[in-house]
């Protein structure tokens, strides 16, 4: 009852039944872990990307709108910075997910597709709502506030929904945090909402990504 010699990393292979069984179990676990790691998107990468994008993009907006700002950033430059950092995060997210789930078909790819469309529809509708409000003639600061609070809320709710769907406590908590700080930031108004989204939002995501990375390292 010894396994044949071409198994992946056989320890000493001559101890009989128990070792062969232990070896087989280790082989199964290693293989399953490898499949999980290679076919599921890495939350640390995604939180890292979006955390950084928000930290930089919303941070630029804060520095552009804060009266006592040490840096004199024109609003247009802040807008481009936010746009470019979000676009970069979106492209890199798409590449990362596409690579990981390549070749996987069935329920989880349908789930992922519906979830992806939810983000898309959420932000397109938000843009429509804000352009509708803009036509009533409110000032630019209000529009800025709506964009910041609105996107924070969409992000928060979709993370909470994702946490519910994949039974992911971290994602759920991060979503709740986003929803709450966006609401609080909106009450505080411009420019503070940008600071809140940059530090509490983006910084919070980076902190979660870092904590997850540290835990994986310790777990090994």
């Amino acid at each position: 009852m010894t396994t044949s010699s071409d198994s992946a990393n056989p320890p000493e292979n001559t101890e009989g039944l128990d070792l062969a069984a232990a070896e087989s179990l280790a082989l199964i676990e290693a293989q399953q872990r490898q499949v999980g790691e290679q076919t599921e998107p890495d939350a640390r990468v995604l939180y890292g990307l979006w955390g950084l994008a928000l930290l930089i993009g919303e941070g630029a907006f804060f520095l552009a709108t804060w009266e006592d700002s040490p840096l004199d950033i024109p609003l247009g430059v802040a807008g481009v910075t936010l746009f470019v950092s979000l676009l970069t995060a979106m492209v890199l997210t798409s590449i990362h997910i596409a690579r990981r789930v390549a070749g996987v078909r069935g329920n989880s790819s349908r789930q992922g597709m519906f979830y992806g469309w939810t983000w898309m529809v959420g932000f397109i509708s938000l843009a429509a709502v804000i352009s509708g409000v803009a036509r009533t003639g409110v000032d630019e600061q209000t529009i800025g506030l709506l964009w910041a609070a609105g996107s924070g809320l969409v992000i928060g709710l979709l993370y909470m929904a994702g946490g519910a769907m994949w039974l992911d406590r971290t994602q759920f908590a991060l979503g709740a945090w986003f929803a709450v700080v966006s609401g609080a930031g909106a009450v505080a108004g411009v420019p503070w909402i940008y600071l809140v989204l940059s530090i509490a939002g983006g910084g919070g995501m980076l902190a979660v990504a870092a904590a997850m990375a540290a835990r994986t390292k310790l777990g090994r």
Binding site: D18, A21, L27, Q31, Q32, G106
Partner: protein, 107 residues
Amino acid sequence: MTGDAELDPVIHAPARLRLMATLSALAQGDRLSFTRVQKLLDMTGGNLSTHLRRLEDAGYVEVTKSHLGRTPATHVALTRAGRLAFENYTATLRALLGSATTQGSTP
């Protein structure tokens, strides 16, 4: 229940064991493309086909062929019987190791 049963010979070969473990790691209702399985297992196509056929003959694996535009695509998944056989197999391994009690399966 299956404590002193024989280890399923269809599964108990390193290549097929890794193949079954790979497919069992997928969520139920998911399939994996042939090429992706090949990469995950680092196996040649011919070798993988041979083992897949053996598992398919045993009713453990379902192979579906379809077309993505012009390119044919083959996807692989465990059947219900395959999942059950794999669970029995790992349960037997644990029983052989005498760790069945620590797994909490018997109160």
